[in-house]
Amino acid sequence: MILFLARRLFEAIAVLIGISLVVFVISRLSGDPAALMLPPEASDEDFAQLRHEMGLDQSLYVQYLTFASKAIHGDFGESIRNFVPATQLVVERLPATLLLACGALCIALTIAFPAGIVAGLNRGSIIDRTVMTFCVIGQGVPVFWSSLLLILFFSVHLHVLPTSGYGRLENLIMPASALGIYTAARLSRLVRSGVIEVASQDYVRAAHAKGLAVRDVVQNYVLRNALLPIVTVIGLDFAALLGGAVITETIFAWPGVGRLTVESITRRDFPVVQASVIMLAATYVVINFLVDIIYRFIDPRIKLR
């Protein structure tokens, strides 16, 4: 276990260093924040001086070392545009991002498990086909489109939900559903195929033969064995929800980290981009780690090494 933890920690550090390097270089390739801060009539000397003050005239290598030596202590620098610590900007957007990701995941799990199990147990039936049709639609429809349809129907037409915004539970319903349905479609297919595979195993047939109730067989024999790959995907999906909800956040005016990151990219606010990307990468690493731990609880035969 200790060996496992040590190795995981080492891997995490390597991943984060790699990510920080990539973000650092790529963000600087696409443009110059000083160019966006100056009025158009400012002179070449103003530009050179501002770049000097911002340290942008130093070589990339020196800039990276300066950044890395501070980042190790948790200091990602001050936002170029806003003169506030970059970490503060990211941290104040985190609750919104977490709330949306958790909401979407709850909706996804609530739909995916019952739908996938029922479809898997009744393979080839009309129920199975209906579920699979919905899965294809759910996965095929882009989130920005379904989001707009939700807004048009529930807000503009029925006036039952606010079009966008943040702060009340009713604000969460549509963005979480738009994201959740998409994730649910992916997961249901996975649950279904897992159930189909396990349900034909000898020990499941034996359990049925013993006369156990269907519910007990599904819960204790089928699901538990089908769960491993599903947990992996849930972990990945959750991480993706944390980082990749930019479109949903924009459409529903949700003040999350994704939107902050994209806005910071368009303004070339490097410290904020670096802080948010590295924090999201760290979340990925942590979630992956948790998934590994959960593995062990689901299947005690797995040894963490």
Binding site: D32, L36, P39, F47, A96, R168, I251, P255, G256
Partner: protein, 497 residues
Amino acid sequence: MKNSTISRRNLLKLATAAAASSLGPFPTKADEASIVIGGLPEDANLDPGVITATDWAGLLRNIYQPLVYGGANGDVLPGLATAWKQLDPVTWEFTTRDNVQFHNGEKFGPEDVEFTIKRIVEGNLPLRYILSSVETATASGPNSVQIKLRAPAPLILKILNRIPIVQRASTKTSLVRQTNGTGPYKLEKWSPGDQLVLQYAPNYWGPKPSVKRVIYRSIPDANSLVAAFQANEVDLAVGLQPDAASKLSGSSALDIKAVDTDRTIFINIDNTAKPFDDARVRKALNLSLDRDALVRDILLGNGSPIANPCGPHYLGYNKSLKPQFDPTKAKELLKEAGLPNGFEFTLNAPSGRYMKDKEIAEAIVGQWSRVGINAKLVLMEFGTLMTGYRNHKLSPAYLIGVSQPDLDGAQFLTTVFNSAGSYFKDPELVAAIVEALKMADVSERRATIEKLNAEVFEKDAYVYLYLQKAIFGLSKKIKWTPSSNEEIDLASIELAS
């Protein structure tokens, strides 16, 4: 088995309760005297000495006030100063307004002006690019402050219009997330990326505004903004797109207002690159564009073709210049220039910055192709374009939009023909622009700029296009006339009774 189910259910209940409580108190809903504005610019700082983005600076002008306000065509109106005079070429004296309080109750005085100017100049804040002509400021009496210039600056009053006065002893920390101004509104609360609420400041010295409370909502997506406006969640929708505006304009419950802004869209060209060194070719570029069609078909009427660099509110706008469209003549000129089969070049243009910029650039390329001019369009994100602008990499042509808050035509000509983004090389023209900038006499300055605007038109020194409009949506709850400077003066909004 049963037990575990129950506990799981309880856990779920607990989790829901926790999620609900983490959402905090209900956000403030609009009541009678308050309005909701859809369109909170994205920013994360309230310090008026740091903010240069025009939209966010415009919002802060409801909280902070300058010494003087700049009007159209060279007018100057009193702000926190009631009178001003020039003592010598580099010294101005301002009489500060009596009985003005900051929102925290402290009295406003000349020391606050001195502090504000010194804070920007000595503290090297971003606003120093606007204040570059100012050396320092000194409170010279109980009601007067002197501003010392590095060199004579005829535009100084216009420049001071852009400097919001903060209270002496303000610090970076005290201004970043809170406000303390002298304007009609003060900050009630702010959650970045979500909403910002302003309320009427009871100790404001001026007339009481009709609207007592304003909730700015951040709605970055254009379609969501329209939906929020249609669902009556928003009283004033800012920055509507042409197609949305034309769709909404049929509704009797909503009012759509489009106003010409001070922002001109045009194309800069490089006369050192062949074949743009030939004046006939440049004229052909201008004559082959049907600006009425561009504005009508792509902007759905939300623009005004223009043949001056600057718009009509600027000092020195030349009324006599009219856009010309004559593709036959353009073809002839190309033939005369020895290019009967046209030529090829690259047009750089931003995507997602100005109203329908990408579509406009594509249409321009299309119109040019009809006379044989084959422009290869390179679309780029605005940050990339501006990096190219600063590094002189946009030759031979690029599309851009410029608005000059000082509303001075000479300043505008400087941006087009004598800045990092200028590629039209003409030393005589540049010298004349530099001379115009120095002129202190308003009528002389106006006449000179008018002449220069005619000169760049005759020389086809750039490709003129149009003025961009700003489109606002108003609910029946409010009455308001938008102004051309893209700012929303909240005190000018009336509640419909």
